[in-house]
Assembly symmetry: C2
Homo-oligomer: 408 residues x 2
Amino acid sequence: MASGSILVAQGGGPTAVINQSLVGVVLAARQAGASRIYGALHGVRGIVDENLVDLGQVSAADLELVAATPSSALGSTRDKPDVAYCQKIFAVLRAHAIEQFLYIGGNDSSDTVRIVSLEAQKANYPLRCIHIPKTIDNDLVGSDHTPGFPSAARFVAQAFAGANLDNASLPGVYVGVVMGRHAGFLTAAAAAGRNAADDGPHLIYLPERTFEMARFLADVKAVYDRLGRCVIAVSEGIHDADGNAIASLLAKSVERDAHGNVQLSGTGALADLLCDAIKEQLGIKRVRGDTFGYLQRSFLGCVSPVDQREAREVGKRAVQFALEGDCDGSVAIRRSGDSASGYAVDYVLLPLADVAGKTRVMEDAFIDADGTGVTDAFISYLRPLLGADMPVSHRLRAAPVAKILTVD
Amino acid sequence: MASGSILVAQGGGPTAVINQSLVGVVLAARQAGASRIYGALHGVRGIVDENLVDLGQVSAADLELVAATPSSALGSTRDKPDVAYCQKIFAVLRAHAIEQFLYIGGNDSSDTVRIVSLEAQKANYPLRCIHIPKTIDNDLVGSDHTPGFPSAARFVAQAFAGANLDNASLPGVYVGVVMGRHAGFLTAAAAAGRNAADDGPHLIYLPERTFEMARFLADVKAVYDRLGRCVIAVSEGIHDADGNAIASLLAKSVERDAHGNVQLSGTGALADLLCDAIKEQLGIKRVRGDTFGYLQRSFLGCVSPVDQREAREVGKRAVQFALEGDCDGSVAIRRSGDSASGYAVDYVLLPLADVAGKTRVMEDAFIDADGTGVTDAFISYLRPLLGADMPVSHRLRAAPVAKILTVD
């Protein structure tokens, strides 16, 4: 059935399950009888440089080991192709008789696929282009959720579950900074680590709402006065009323990638700024800040089984769409079950123009009225994605012993 | 057999398995027929304030749920008792007919037990004092290793395994800062995440060696020139030739606890300082720093089964030593197996004076000649502690496709 060769590559930030999608592509392509299955090293950069590997010869056992390993096994890139770059891509694809281009990535990678698809049409090159979704940010338009997000969300929930207990043990204020440039889904996932009524995070700051320092300090003071402690989840993308990221206001120099994104991760400056403000303005002594950084997207051994399954499946479906379909597009997960029937999903192919270069942010129904917490609707949305084996914390509930002495 | 009541409390920083020790105490005390089992909230502070709970009435099922939960379930403290503080402690212990004091903690907590034991003898108060070991730093003298360390080591190894793959995917320099004031064991555990020959961490900086910035930059440049990337594990306790912590040189103000320890964690400043130096001095663009912070000691769901078992056991043994023995002391794990017979441990009671206030650092045999890596002896020491179910990363090994075009 398959004609020509298939090429698959990975772009943008790694996730815990991006290799499940890669392996899904390879296994489905073999099953469909594809003549050759190539991988490009470091995304589109590997095509231009003609750095290709033969995925057809890797054993199924080795593929399964790679599928269970986080981060992009083929390597990644943040290159953004222009017309000249695309012409180089076509030259290499032609030379290797490649007629299917499958690209695993997020918003920027979907835009890359859109540009390649458009330029291929202009050049009258017969290339089927399919975008396979992947991003811990969960910010692709048209998807219920994106592969990679559930595992990262689970890491964030488990991290906050532990940090909350640590904070309960040695009370003070704890600030955890979570990835997410424009969309707060991953930061909001911190709420899924709660079990007891007074568990943190007690406050959640999302890029969907404007950040005001005075309001923030008043919020923290109110929680601290009530509970004697406060756990706070903050998105790295929080910004002032003019849209300036608080993190970038601090940076010595602003680093941007080819897609124009300002570099926010890889520094603890935002957490430190917020902690200093709490110490200095509120006079609270024990204030600690953590920046989750790269751990949340590539930690070995923290993965949602639902995410693993779905990431494998979007890779397989992409091959089906490429070989059996008649149009380019972006694979998307749609939720088909409801709370009564249980969690279930379908896979659809969306037009590239509907996805590329667009950013989904959290729906208003997921954010509480104060803008510092999430709704039950968000927890109901998130819970089935985390997997049934998600660990749960348990507080000690022991009866107090009657005091005998009057101790001051 | 048991007379009087038992009191157990938890001091210092939480770990992933400190509640295993607590539950070990409660279950062993019940089995021994102890009349009452009290817990003090927030360590010795809870004794002074007479904030005690009745652990005798908590169901075995609830205890098991708490045992599997990280962080100190009774709450913790960093208070360091003086004579007056101890007299308040005795007043409360007397009032409740408590004759066994079991304290789960690290170096500082063992010193607390030593002081309480000494003051009890001086006051002629019949109190059996047992220190139950716990510290992610692995720095108790006389122990092969300490409960809490194996689980934290596993977190650090899994984190670096993932960060290494992330760095291989999007090449650059990655700096991960790990807890450890004087002892580098936890930072060194980063090496246990390696699988392939070129896996990072490629450089490891420990508090056992003097840190020199010029030497550090030369080391990083050499690795980067060779591999095109570099992953670095750095202890928060690295210091200059005069013993000044590099982290504290940066701090606006130095925060100390009652034990005189300078606060090093809870800020990303050290990672940021090192990253800035690499960017500015070496001209490398993609440089990212993470500070593992509180995640490494309290993350929910990353635990070594060996650590869980041993932490339970030190709690049980402490009760045996308290009820059947005739002296105060500190429970220690001794390794009895070897590479031929397999991993095995014994539990012994050490004199409090041999442990309290002392700090073990990494043996020279565990650190390589350059001072920027660990030896095979260290890996052999660490490996059995991490558990047989420790996840392993796998790199994709696919044959390159012959180039057809000459691409620039």
